[in-house]
Amino acid sequence: MTESVPPSAPPSAPETVSAAVARAERVRGPWADVWAQFRKHKGAMLALITLGVLALVCLAGPLVWRIDPNFIESDTVKMFKMRNQGPSLAHPLGTDQLGRDMLARMMFGGRISLAVGTVAMLVAIFIGTTVGVIAGYFRRLDGLLMRLTDLFLALPLLPLLLVMMFLFRDSIASTLGPRLGTFLLIVLAIGLTSWMQAARVVRGEVLALKEREFVLAARSIGTPSRRIITRHILPNVLSPVLVAATLGIAAAIITESVLSFLGLGFPPDFPTWGRLLYDGIAEIRTYPERVMWPGIAISLTVLSVNYIGDGLRDALDPRIRGR
C-alpha cells in the first residue's frame, strides 16, 4: 500500500500547480486583472483613497460631529462673538459670518454636492453613450442624432436650465416634496444638458471600432448588432466614456452652484459646496479660508475623479496592461 502511493506524488506536483493557476485565473476574472493593474497606478490609488475619505467624512461625519449646520446662537452677544472665527478646537474649520460651524456646513454640503455630481454625471453619461453608440453604429440614425446633438450644443445652456426649472419646479416639488423634488430636477436638468460631448466622443470612437477586424469577424459569423455593441463596442469605448464622466462630475457640481446662486437650486439654507464658495467670495479679502474650504473640497473631488478615470483607463486598456 505504501509503495504504490509515494512515487505518484512528485509527478503530480506540476499538474497541481497548473490546475491551481487555472482555477485562480478563473476566480480572478477580467475585473480582478483590472484591479491589479489599477493598483499599480499610484495616482489613481491616492485619488481613490482621497475620494473615499471625502465621501466617508461627508456621509458618516455628521454622526460624529453633531452640530447643526444651520444653528445660529440665539443669544445675540454670543452670536457676535462666534462670528467669523478662525479654525479652533471647537470649530476646526472656523465659523461663518453668522457663527455657523463651517465643518458641519462642509459635511452637509458635501453630501448634496457629491450626490448631485455623481447622479447628474451618470444621467449625462448614460444619455451620451447611448446616443453616441447608436449614432456611430447605425448609419441611418447618425445624421439625425448628431444634428440633435448639435442642436443641444447650440442651445444656450443656462437659459435652457432656467426654463426647465421654471416650468417643472412647482409640479415636481408638489409631488415629491421640495427637497427630493429639487434634487431630482437639478440632477435631471444638469444631466440632460451635459451629455453632448460624451455623445460626440463615443460616436467617433464607435465609427473607428466598427471597421476593425474583430468587429467585422463578429459580424461575419452572424452576431446580432445588440451583441456586437455590448460585447465588442462598449468595452472598447469605456475609456473615453470614463474621461467624459470625470469631467462631468466637476461640471455638475459647479452648475448646481450656479443654479443655487440664481435662486433656482436648493433653498438658501441648504449649504452646498458651490453655495459656500459663492458666499465666501464676498469676503475673500478678509476671510480667505471661507473660500478655501469649499474650493479645496471641490478641487480634490474633481482631481480625484480625474485620476481615478486615468487609472481606470490604463487598467482597462489591454495594450497597456502588464506594462
Binding site: S74, M79, F80, L98, G263, P268, A282, R285
Partner: protein, 567 residues
C-alpha cells in the same frame, strides 16, 4: 510748546483768512469717485442716480432739498406757499418767481421761458423723458413776465412742489436744447454732455462712462464760490474700490455709495484718511405679510387672491408675534453697519411725517411666545411647531438672491423657529422677482409665499403716492395682470378714507400728521408690514474735504458750491 502752538495758530489764522473770504477756485482740484461711471449729464435722459447727481453740479432746479428734507430756493427767489400767495387757495396753481439777475454760464439771462421750455422738453410726446413723473398733472405753464412762472394743474394738488424741484428736475437752457425736443433728445450728444447751466461748475471735458472734468462757473451767482476751481469726476470699479480710494489710499476726496459690509467698514475706517457719512431717507427693508392664501393646491388664478384669506396670517396676534420675535439691531449690525438703523416705520423720515413708533426696536421673544399661547397657538403634538385647529404655523419666506438678505433670512428663520414657527426659505433672482412678468410665479406682486422681504422707498419727501399703494383697489390679481402695488392685499375702508382726506389736505404739518397715522395703521396697529431696517445713503469723504453735507433728499453733490479744502 505753548508759544509754538500759538505761533502755529496765528499762522493758520493767516492762512485761513483768505479762504474765509474765499476766492473762486482758490482751493484747486477736488476729486470725486462715482463707481458707476457717468454716461450723460442730462437728468431727463437717465434714471441712473449717478447721472442725475453728476448733472447737478451743472444744472439746477428752482428749489432743492436740504439734509433735513426741507425745501430751499435755488433759482427761485422764495418757496411759494398758500400763506405767501404763491400757491392758489384752490390748490390748482403755483407761482414761482426767479431770482433777479441770474445768468447761465454763457452769460445770457435765465428767464421764465427756460422753465417753461424744460416742461415742454420733458413732456414732449415723442421723447422718452426719464423724469416724466415729476411733470404729471400739469395743465399749462404761463410766463407773464421774464421772472414769473405760473404752473397750472389739471386738478387740485395738495403737494404742488413736484415739478422743477430736486436734482431730478433741473432747468435746461432753452437756447441750447431747442433743437433737441422729442425724438432728437438722445442724439444731441454735445448738449447732453456739456449742458449750459447755472450751477457752480461747467463741463470742460466729458468722456462717456469714464471721466468728467469740470471747472468753476465764471458766472456763478455767488462771486466767492465755488472754492474749488476744478472737479474731476471719475467712474469705474466697485463700491469696495471706491471706499478704499478715499479711506485707505486717499486718492479721492469723495466716493459715492460705498455700500460695503460692516466689517469692511471698520477696516477702512482704520485707514484714517477719511470718514463714512450717512443720511437716512425712506428706503426701508421690510417683511411683507401676505393676507391671502398662497397655497399651491389652490387652482392657478386663485392663489394669493382676495378670494382666499390667509389661514394663519389673518390672525393679528400671529403677525404681531412674528414682529416681536425679530431683533432688528442685530440685523443692522450683521448687514449694514453704519449704512442702516433699525426702524418700526414704513415712512421713517423726514421728521415731520415719521411716527414715534419705537416699540418693536427691542426684541421680545417671551412676549411673543405668550401672545401666541394666549391666542390659542400651542404646540399640541410636540413637534416644536405651534398649531391651532389643525393649522400649523408654517411659512414660506421668500426674498431675492443677495448675501445680506440671505443672512437676514437665516437669522429671522432662527428667531421664528425659536418662537415655534416652521419656516421654509426661498431666494429668487432679483431680475425675476422685481421683473413684473405676469407669467412668472416668482414675482413679488404675485407673492406665491406667506411672507417676503425686500426694500422700497419713495422719491422726494411727499409720501402720498407711496401710501396710496395700500388702497383696496390696488390689490394685484389675475384681473389686472398682477400689476397692483398693494402686494400685502391689505384692505381697510378706514385707511382708504384717511388717504382720500390726505389727497385734499394742504400744508406740510397737517399732511405729515396724516401720513403718520397711515403709517401706524400698516405697521404697529396691524403688523401687515414688518419694517426691519432703514437703509441710508452711505458714502465716503476725505478728512481734507470740508463743507460736505450728506443729503438723502436730493443729490449728494447738492452743496458742492460750499465745499472747501481743509488747510
Amino acid at each position: 510748546m505753548k508759544f509754538r502752538t500759538a505761533l502755529l495758530g496765528a499762522a493758520a489764522a493767516f492762512a485761513l483768512a483768505p479762504a474765509a473770504h474765499a476766492e473762486r477756485g482758490a482751493d484747486g482740484e477736488v476729486k470725486v469717485f462715482y463707481y458707476q461711471a457717468v454716461s450723460t449729464l442730462n437728468a431727463y435722459l437717465s434714471s441712473g442716480t449717478k447721472d442725475v447727481e453728476a448733472g447737478s453740479l451743472v444744472l439746477e432746479p428752482l428749489a432743492g432739498f436740504d439734509q433735513d428734507g426741507q425745501m430751499f430756493p435755488r433759482l427761485a427767489a422764495e418757496i411759494p406757499t398758500v400763506e405767501n400767495g404763491g400757491v392758489s387757495a384752490d390748490l390748482t396753481s403755483i407761482t414761482w418767481k426767479l431770482k433777479e439777475g441770474l445768468v447761465w454760464s454763457d452769460g445770457t439771462p435765465v428767464t421764465s421761458a427756460d422753465v417753461k421750455f424744460t416742461w415742454e422738453y420733458c413732456t414732449h410726446p415723442e421723447g422718452g423723458c426719464a423724469q416724466g413723473a415729476k411733470y404729471e398733472g400739469i395743465a399749462s405753464i404761463d410766463t407773464p413776465d421774464d421772472l414769473t412762472v405760473v404752473v397750472k394743474f389739471e386738478a387740485p394738488k395738495p403737494y404742488p412742489y413736484q415739478p422743477f424741484t430736486g436734482g431730478t428736475a433741473p432747468i435746461l437752457q432753452k437756447a441750447q436744447f431747442e433743437a433737441c425736443l422729442g425724438a432728437a433728445a438722445a442724439s444731441c450728444t454735445e448738449q447732453n454732455s456739456k449742458p449750459i447751466g447755472t450751477g457752480p461748475f461747467i463741463v470742460t471735458d466729458f468722456k462717456v462712462n469714464d471721466v468728467v472734468t469740470l471747472e468753476a462757473n465764471p458766472n456763478y451767482r455767488d462771486p466767492a464760490k465755488p472754492a474749488f476751481g476744478k472737479v474731476t469726476l471719475k467712474g469705474g470699479g466697485d463700491a469696495l474700490a471706491a471706499a478704499s480710494a478715499v479711506m485707505e489710499t486717499g486718492e479721492f476726496d469723495y466716493a459715492w455709495n460705498t455700500q460695503i459690509n460692516p466689517e469692511q467698514q471698520a477696516q477702512m475706517e482704520a485707514g484714517g484718511k477719511g470718514t463714512f457719512v450717512n443720511a437716512f431717507g425712506t428706503l426701508v427693508e421690510r417683511i411683507e405679510i401676505n393676507m391671502t392664501n398662497p397655497d399651491p393646491a389652490l387652482p392657478e388664478g386663485e392663489r394669493s387672491t382676495v378670494k382666499h384669506p390667509h389661514p394663519i396670517l389673518t390672525d393679528a396676534n400671529v403677525r404681531k408675534a412674528l414682529s416681536m420675535a425679530i431683533d432688528r439691531q442685530t440685523l443692522v449690525d450683521v448687514g449694514y453697519g453704519g449704512a442702516g438703523r433699525p426702524t418700526c416705520n414704513l415712512v421713517p423720515s423726514p421728521a415731520f411725517q415719521a411716527s414715534d413708533n419705537t416699540e418693536c426696536l427691542t426684541q421680545d421673544m417671551e412676549g411673543a411666545k405668550a401672545l401666541l399661547e394666549g391666542a390659542g397657538w400651542t404646540d399640541s403634538d410636540g413637534d416644536g411647531i405651534r398649531d391651532k385647529d389643525g393649522k400649523k404655523l408654517s411659512l414660506v419666506y421668500q426674498t431675492t438672491v443677495n448675501p445680506v438678505r440671505q443672512d437676514f433670512q437665516a437669522l429671522v428663520k432662527g428667531w421664528w423657529n425659536e418662537l415655534g414657527v416652521e419656516v421654509e426659505l426661498k431666494a429668487i433672482d432679483p431680475s425675476v422677482f422685481f421683473g413684473g412678468d405676469a407669467a412668472s410665479p416668482d414675482t413679488f406682486q404675485k407673492f406665491y409665499a406667506d411672507v417676503e422681504m425686500y426694500a422700497n422707498n419713495f422719491d422726494g419727501t411727499d409720501a402720498e403716492p407711496y401710501m396710496s399703494q395700500y388702497l383696496c383697489d390696488k390689490i394685484p390679481g389675475p384681473d389686472n395682470q398682477w400689476q397692483g402695488e398693494n402686494i400685502n392685499r391689505f384692505c381697510d375702508p378706514a385707511y382708504d378714507a384717511l388717504l382720500k382726506e390726505l389727497s385734499t389736505t394742504a400744508g406740510i404739518e397737517a399732511r405729515g400728521a396724516m401720513v403718520m397715522k397711515l403709517n401706524d395703521m400698516l405697521t404697529k396697529d396691524t403688523n401687515v408690514i414688518i419694517p426691519l431696517v432703514d437703509r441710508g445713503r452711505f458714502s465716503a469723504k476725505s478728512n481734507t474735504l470740508d463743507g460736505f453735507v450728506m443729503n438723502s433728499w436730493d443729490t449728494e453733490l447738492w452743496n458742492a458750491q460750499d465745499w472747501t479744502r481743509v488747510k
